[in-house]
Symmetry: C2
Subunit: 116 residues, 2 copies
């Protein structure tokens, strides 16, 4: 079912361990062993998570057979960001309306004080 | 595994039909029949997608037993947006560096012309 790029990305991101791995990679490249350190899961389990991230294009791995460092790729995240655009507009508009309403409330609240 | 809210949201979004349903709801409430119209899938299949979206809190459904209109809820999407924040910073920085490099290239390209 989920064969389009955006669905593959979102599906890869729908796991707290995989998101934690990506967060770690924001501070630079890391080996599988380094990535596994903070988690109470086995190296093979981490490797499986990395394969999912790699298939989604969210990480790339170095060619060095001994030390294949993982690096974050932001392109799929940018696609998520673009998809979110139209929804961001929705809550921005709602916030604007709330702001207008609060301003109106404040303006309304000042009136009696001026009268007293 | 995926029991945290963000994972539930991302998992619900990892399907093109469910994203299309959300996109339709940006222009207002709609019934299941209305939502099913553009898709070549059965009403029960649409209902299953709606249940996934409802569990993730991405839609709410009216109480009217006859016509239970679906409405978009943006709160879970805002959580995705907040999660994306730190990554957005990454590609913004990369774009800035690219901009600096292009400026440097242009400045460097002007030098020989000045000399001739």
């Amino acid at each position: 079912m989920a064969t389009d790029q955006l669905s593959t990305t979102l599906s890869a991101l729908a796991d707290p361990t995989r998101r934690a791995i990506l967060a770690r990679l924001t501070s630079g490249e890391a080996s599988v062993t380094e990535l596994a350190e903070p988690f109470e899961i086995s190296l093979p389990a981490v490797s499986r998570h990395l394969k999912v991230l790699e298939r989604a294009g969210l990480i790339v791995r170095g060619r060095d057979a001994q030390w294949r460092p993982c690096r974050l790729e932001t392109a799929p995240l940018q696609e998520v960001d673009e998809w979110l655009m139209r929804y961001r507009r929705l809550w921005d508009e709602r916030l604007d309306r709330l702001g207008d309403y609060l301003e109106w409330l404040q303006a309304d609240g000042r009136k009696p004080r001026r009268r007293s």
